[in-house]
Symmetry: C2
Subunit: 252 residues, 2 copies
Amino acid sequence: MPNPLSKANLQKKNATQPKAQFGRAAILLAAVKLAALKGLANISLGDLAAEIGMSKSGLYAHFETREELEAAIVETAITILDQEVLQPAFKARPGIERLRVVTNAFLSYLERKVFPRGCFIAAVSLELESRPGAACDLVAGALDQWVALLRQCIVEGQDLGEITPNIEVTQVVFEIQAMLFTSNFLFVMSDNVVQLTQARAGVENVVTRIAIGSDPKKNRSKKNERRSGPRRKAAPPALIDAVVASRGITPD
Amino acid sequence: MPNPLSKANLQKKNATQPKAQFGRAAILLAAVKLAALKGLANISLGDLAAEIGMSKSGLYAHFETREELEAAIVETAITILDQEVLQPAFKARPGIERLRVVTNAFLSYLERKVFPRGCFIAAVSLELESRPGAACDLVAGALDQWVALLRQCIVEGQDLGEITPNIEVTQVVFEIQAMLFTSNFLFVMSDNVVQLTQARAGVENVVTRIAIGSDPKKNRSKKNERRSGPRRKAAPPALIDAVVASRGITPD
DNA sequence: AAATAGCACGAACGGTCGTTCTTTTAATTT
DNA sequence: AAATTAAAAGAACGACCGTTCGTGCTATTT
């Protein structure tokens, strides 16, 4: 029933506007970026809508509720982390080699600022720990996957004879995680790549301690120049920005 | 000009209520606890007022604005951290001994849950990093103090001949900080004291690597049974709860 | 050509937020 | 005893929040 007297009809505009046409993916990428900057709980639908240039109510064509949006944001971020860090690790050779690949992949992912404020999962995990729901379950699963990958590297190294069987694997995993996790924190706080280098050296110190057949006296600086070397090129632009730009969205 | 017809007069209650009488300190302790649970930016004046049983407007007798309240909260938390961790460290003997004391003090401060969700400074530092102001400056100063203390321990150890002069002090500080910081994160996430033990072992592994005159072959499990032992007693109740209770405030 | 379905809009809702103002009460000072 | 002061209450404000609703475009399907 078309009503020619409706308010909307009275204020009809030229009707030649581009009518942007957003998709779930474009919204989610902007939302992930915003959530990384301000925290998952601190994004408002108004801010998000303004960021991508659409109205608040328009968002409800894609997400039934705010909670569903948050879960979708976390899911998107986990997918990015998976592509950036976990997948490259799974493609690498087992053992210490894989450990070095995951280390470099994670630090590169920090250096390139795939997320504007460090690892997204680390940023939201503390916040979500006290707020159960779908989003919380997703990050818990991602954290489990992450720890399992590190543990797998150590056990593989033991099976291959690279690593002493006489260690507490859990302790080693803790120390490696400590290097990477703290690197994330300090790099965000200081924006100084030295924090990334120190994490690399810290992991290497742990590896030296548990490795078999490496002279424990003085081989603490080189030794990984070719295997994990090709990853040290000029950093491409941050993933989120790249994808968002490719869709013609101007975030700011 | 007493107005006997005022609304307030009409709903006058028995007027024998205790009229609690709060002070800045009592308000701040409850506020610190609330901020530790929900994040500094996520406390509302209404929640805080309800928590301590007074009205929102009553808070404005003590704090001119919300920002001032936030700064005061951070200042209070820093004072607690200082008393719990830094002061005991400064009283200890220099060098490795002091490093062990600060390590144990920090882990004990986590275990006793002085703050309900781990180290308050660590929790709010990321949040404040993107929100300049008085509160941000305070945590930045506290972090600097913390790093300076760890560095001081290492340098002292070198001067005393306990630690090899042939190391990069900054790298060692990074690794020690990594153990403690990650312990904080994982302990909050899992509520499992194993994370504290692993941090202690991790620090000890670093110390073993840089120490002079310690047999690097097999002394990786005991060796700190007496020096840092006396601190492993039954944990007293959390500081905040204790102080709040002593003032007769029932938080929940 | 007509009907349908998916996006996106503006307006409005009830609720909560930080803040201000006025008033009452209790304690202290004069 | 009167005056002053500080602590706290209570009501109200404008702004913003998530959400709903009715409507209008535009492209696809019938």
